[in-house]
Symmetry: C2
Subunit: 203 residues, 2 copies
């Protein structure tokens, strides 16, 4: 079975770093948000539109999309720029998933790939104080502004995910494994995920 | 650091079995719902009241409790039989926690022990079809009635937890580790939890 892993994460929980370690350990490609966005940029969306979309997501894309499809209005008329952007991202992630193996971080990849067999979905979280600490020490965030940024980013990620999937970000039933990284190292989180993947069955 | 582990679980996910395996592996006592209830029975509550309480829980105990405390009404007047029962369970779990080590399954133990240092909280879940299968094959449930029972029990557990804690049952932030056991064996789930515990830090 090909190894496809998606990682969703709270801001500052180390999810991206763990994803990169995991890709190295499993010897599969690593795709983070920036790599996915780059492919989308190539299809004509500006960097500004792509970066702004997450912060603007509110609610109801899954509903809007099914409505648009049911009434056969066509995407061109019924969908906003942000929704068209999501569909472009959707396509990039779907192609990566169908092509083979990899670790994908963010961008609702668990939802996009939900019909493919054998995807392992992981959620990484941590206590707020540790996420603030990591954001300052490892991501170089401004200590005076970081607490608000952590909260804003989590809210944006939740809105973006809930809006586009009709599911709830972080809800256990979407994931194979959820880990609190406040009490274990990034290496150990990688180790635990790899053990799950190597011992799991497929349906 | 003493090893205290709480396990919350969807009905039919194997959480109780995993807890028992884990207690054996870590060489600490195992406390399931029945053992906790037995202690509560000894303090004067009937078996019927104890078993009925979970199914009757609705919402707002944490709020009611804080209101009762704030207005200094005394438990005797302000609390229902079910709420008094929860306080008796609370005391049993707190004493187990303060006395030492163990694996505790169910009964909001994660919430009761939240102020103790070094408790590891685990949530076990699985796909509905696998929980139905386990309930029939391992718990001996009636195949004709099991699907409804699984749903009723999950709903009751969620209500009971949310009512008594003011938190949300299954929400990732309450747990160190959440595992979907549809794709791994009970032994592997035990192994992953033990690895987390043995490599975790304490604050």
């Amino acid at each position: 079975m090909k190894k496809l892993i998606t990682i969703s994460r709270e801001y500052g929980s180390g999810g991206r770093i763990i994803g990169k370690l995991l890709a190295e350990k499993l010897n599969v490609p690593f795709y983070d948000r920036e790599i996915i966005d780059l492919s989308v940029e190539e299809s004509g969306f500006s960097k500004e539109v792509i970066e702004g979309a997450e912060l603007k997501a509110k609610s109801g894309f899954a509903y809007n999309l099914s409505t648009a499809l049911n009434f056969n209005e066509g995407f061109g008329g019924a969908l906003s720029v942000n929704d068209k952007l999501f569909l472009a991202q959707f396509e990039v992630i779907r192609k990566i998933g169908e092509a083979g193996e990899g670790v994908m971080v963010g961008r609702c990849a668990d939802y996009v790939l939900r019909e493919l067999p054998g995807v392992t979905n992981v959620f990484i979280h941590a206590e707020l104080e540790d996420r603030i600490k990591r954001a300052v020490e490892k991501y170089g965030e401004n200590p005076d502004k970081v607490a608000q940024k952590v909260k804003d980013y989590d809210k944006a990620r939740k809105n973006y995910y809930d809006y586009h999937t009709g599911l709830k970000w972080g809800e256990y039933s979407n994931y194979n494994l959820s880990l609190n990284t406040s009490y274990i190292t990034e290496e150990m989180a990688c180790e635990l995920i790899a053990t799950y993947i190597e011992s799991r069955t497929y349906k």
